[in-house]
Amino acid sequence: MIPLFDTSVPPDAVLPPDAVLPLLVLASSLVPGLVIFFLGEERVRTRTLLNLGGALTKLALVGWMFRGVYEGQRYEARLPLLDGLDLVLRVGSLSLLFLVLSAGLWLVTTVYAVGYLERSPNRSRFFGFFSLCVTATVGVAMSGNLLTFILFFELLTLTTYPLVVHRGTEAARRAGLAYLAHTVFAGVMLLAGTVWLYTLTGTLTFAPRGFVSEIADTHRGPLIAIFALLIAGVGVKAALVPLHGWLPLAMVAPAPVSALLHAVAVVKAGAFGIVLIVYDVFGVEQAAELGLTGPLAAVAAVTIIYGSLRALFQDDLKRRLAFSTVSQVSYIVLGVAIVGPLASVGGIVHLVHQGIMKITLFFCAGNLAETLGIHKVSEMNGVGRRMPWTMGAFSIAALGMIGVPPIAGFVSKWYLGLGALEAGVHWPLYVLTLSSLLNAAYFLPILHAAWFCEPTTQWPAAGSGTGTENGKPIGDSGRWLRPETGWLLLLPPLVTAALSLLIGLFASSPFSPLEWSLLIAEREFHYP
């Protein structure tokens, strides 16, 4: 017989036990997703069962791996694809952070989406792509080399597009077009950078200190170009200015999709990609030595300020949140680009913190829109009295975004600031301060209006049928048993708001995102 490629895995170890878990994590959303496509529109129960079953399974599997990774176990599955280039799924501490985030938030978002989309058309299609989207995200999280990363990154594009255009309106189509134009451009850049890099290094496997140091002296120019290409490639999804154009447009999508885009999947995948490129492709010292981190930090700073400024002037609540995302995600990039252990911890931990806080905000915005038809900030006067739970959650998350202790956002900003000082640069502090002020400037008026202003419109009373199809009329029981909106819509933001409070409060306890980020800094980036 003809010899196959010499793969580094001996044939008897094609599927070692360590390889099974990553594959199962993929399958736990892939299989339900594919099955859901073939389900009839009316089989709500089966579909919900599949969704929640998949989400819970994934969470359990990730939890299992969490223990393993903490004990020093590594999980790896590979499939030969090109000559000397495999598809590799690998779980280390960094991937696990992202995995936990996406698996956890997927569960919450699924619950929310089930409540949100009741009785709306094309649900099978929606949930099918929803599951595939998460599959792509965990794939991104687990990718062990740049090739695998590209695979899942593009899959993410393909599976989120139907979600963005789900409503099928003209605005949705335009948003989808913008999203595609941006991501296709990104895909081209990413592919170009990757192939070029491969021809120079002969490998694409992520390594703790990157894998370009051997050619750093001989191929300076190309390496800088490659860095630019790769960052442009992932920067679109991370919504770096000036590649952010698609994100505000994509707000036409249903609320669970926005939540998913902003907190779990797309934007996060982009930010995670930047982390990977800086740390595991170039190596942060090498990147600094090539003079690449400075411009990256500058781009991040510009994005942070620009996003905040634009958010200030949006009346549409979701658009304001979208620009806030543009700004907040670049904290992660900033943390990475400052070059220093504490700053990187701040960046990495913000990956989680921002996700949890931002998803809360989007859930709440969705609740307002679905229950009361509120889409604009100017319509929010007094809404806190009508929907106290929702606005309570919203407030916690918003304060966290501003950086009020002890909510999670504070921890990130604290570490970012410390990291900047440690690295001996001061300007990030000004950026952080300015951005926090701007955050306050666009969030506090909302809170003020919601809690302290008189309602300007007459909303239907809770539980009396809301004019939309989604608030579940409950009947005339006691006030506390009569929720302000459907349970499925209310519980998720409450959970995530509580989470963002708790991980801020208990930031220094073991297994908190912060502690885990410190572990990552130690293990993956070889910081002390």
Binding site: L81, D83, P162, G168, L180, V195, T199
Partner: protein
């Protein structure tokens, strides 16, 4: 007869089985579909047998008539040819299944589709097997006639006029090729590819250059390389869906294969100027074809222009392979294989949409795509391969070619390849986007048999999965060493350059 068929018997089967099938179908038109399907399955099985034979025992030579070169004709089955035959078989089976459903109610078309299609298959396999320049001319003509007749089966004036145009171009291309064969015969005294390759170095240069020039011109015309692509969209856009699938997926590949054979086996991979010219035309084709595809308002024409663009990629491998980079050839071949499967799937889905809605105007497709999720999925998956997204076969091909381009720092070519991918994404999503609009049920819709949806979907899935099979196909392509010999030859050229 021995229990295990020998390579001669497999080779005989892949040519003579579809031939016999065609004759039978023509003699018994009422049973044509059943006969045709059976023969398609048998032919595919024989192709598999031949492929395995080549995998196990290496290149297979069959001396026809026992004379051998230079007096007689020789069949040669090496990795390259069996790979293409295998693709033909895969597409062939799917198209046969599809056609059985597609032509079920059209008596005349059914009666003529089957013999013509099986004869086309005969011609393709004969072409892939042949190692004799003149015999290749006959197979080229056979292929061209069968393809033109199949195009005309569409029945519309557009189809007939497309068929005429195609026939004229095909005959002209073959005549150019034949003129080249004549010159080569008189320079070398043989038409056996191996013997010609041995003598070509000592032959008078002007004669060889003129021969190569006219042969390549003829084959470029038949392959529809820009700017000779003018005939392709009208023909492929107006033929019946299964025919378009076959034309785009296989027929165009056959003349490209022949070009490649000449380049590799006869010219030994040399010829810098010609290679650069072909690369340039290929790059122009990628851009031009993609832009035109994007501007089409009819689905089938969009797909046809996409073929024009994809053909360009194949030719961009010529300059890249000059430096001895075998990745370029493997990439181009991979692209060709993936394109064959994906493009066939696309045309089949276009057939479904037309059958369903009665038209193929892209702007009005939303209803149809809405009601045919499987078809849409097939189209999208095929599109993924055409765009070159991982892990499809198209991605692997594009990756390998990009790798070669970057390694040789031919950034211009790399940019064109990448741009072509982006444009492909644009035109694929131009169609797919219509799936997500709120649609009203059409009054004119017709039921689509499951066979028509599933055959397209399966082809598309195979195009995607092809991306995972490089570890198997790479060594197969090396058998008989066209790629290996080429990288050696190319290395020599590169060293000189």
């Amino acid at each position: 007869m021995a229990l295990a068929p020998s390579s001669i018997e497999w080779a005989l089967a892949v040519v003579f089985l579809p031939l016999a099938g065609a004759l039978l179908c023509f003699l018994a038109p009422r049973r044509a579909a059943a006969l045709g399907l059976t023969i398609a399955a048998l032919t595919a099985a024989s192709t598999l047998g031949l492929t395995l034979e080549v995998v196990v025992a290496g290149t297979q030579r069959t001396v026809l008539g026992g004379w051998g070169a230079p007096l007689g004709i020789v069949w040669l089955a090496d990795g390259l040819s069996v790979t293409l035959m295998a693709m033909t078989a895969a597409v062939g089976v799917a198209v046969s299944v599809y056609a059985a459903a597609y032509f079920r109610d059209e008596h005349t078309e059914r009666a003529f589709f089957w013999p013509l299609w099986l004869l086309l298959w005969t011609a393709l396999n004969a072409l892939f097997l042949s190692a004799d320049l003149f015999n290749l001319y006959v197979t080229l003509e056979l292929m061209g006639f069968a393809a033109a007749s199949l195009t005309a089966l569409g029945g519309s004036a557009a189809a007939v006029s497309g068929a005429i145009r195609y026939l004229l171009v095909s005959v002209l291309g073959s005549l150019f090729y034949l003129l080249g064969v004549a010159l080569i015969y008189h320079a070398c005294g043989t038409v056996d590819i191996a013997l010609v390759a041995a003598c070509i170095g000592d032959a008078p240069r002007p004669a060889v250059q003129a021969a190569v020039g006219v042969m390549f011109a003829g084959l470029m015309l038949k392959t529809a390389l820009f700017p000779f692509h003018f005939w392709l969209p009208p023909a492929h856009g107006s033929a019946p869906a299964p025919v378009s699938a076959v034309l785009s997926a296989l027929v165009v590949k056959a003349s490209f294969y022949l070009l490649l054979r000449l380049w590799i086996d006869v010219l030994g991979g040399g010829g810098r100027w010609l290679a650069e010219l072909l690369g340039l035309l290929g790059a122009a084709a990628v851009i031009w074809g993609s832009v035109l595809a994007l501007r089409q308002e009819r689905l089938k024409l969009l797909i046809a222009y996409s073929t024009v663009a994809q053909i360009g990629y194949f030719f961009m491998a010529f300059p890249l392979a000059l430096a001895g980079d075998s990745a370029a050839w493997t990439g181009a071949l991979y692209l060709a294989l993936a394109h064959g499967l994906a493009k066939a799937a696309m045309f089949l889905t276009a057939g479904n949409l037309m059958r369903f809605g009665g038209h193929d105007r892209i702007a009005e497709l939303d209803r149809a795509v809405h009601r045919l999720p499987l078809t849409l999925t097939a189209f999208t998956l095929a599109g993924v391969s055409i765009m070159g997204l991982p892990p499809s076969g198209g991605f692997i091909g594009k990756w390998l070619m990009l790798e070669a381009a970057f390694r040789q720092e031919r950034f211009g070519l790399a940019v064109v390849m990448l741009l072509g991918g982006a444009l492909a994404a644009a035109y694929v999503f131009k169609v797919v986007g219509h799936a997500f609009t709120p649609a009203v049920r059409s009054r004119r819709e017709r039921k689509i048999p499951a066979a028509m949806e599933w055959s397209a979907l399966l082809l598309a899935v195979v195009a995607i999965l092809l991306g995972l099979t490089l570890p198997m196909i790479w060594p197969l392509l090396q058998i008989g060493g066209p790629a290996a010999a080429l990288s050696a030859a190319g290395a020599a050229t590169g060293a000189v350059a």
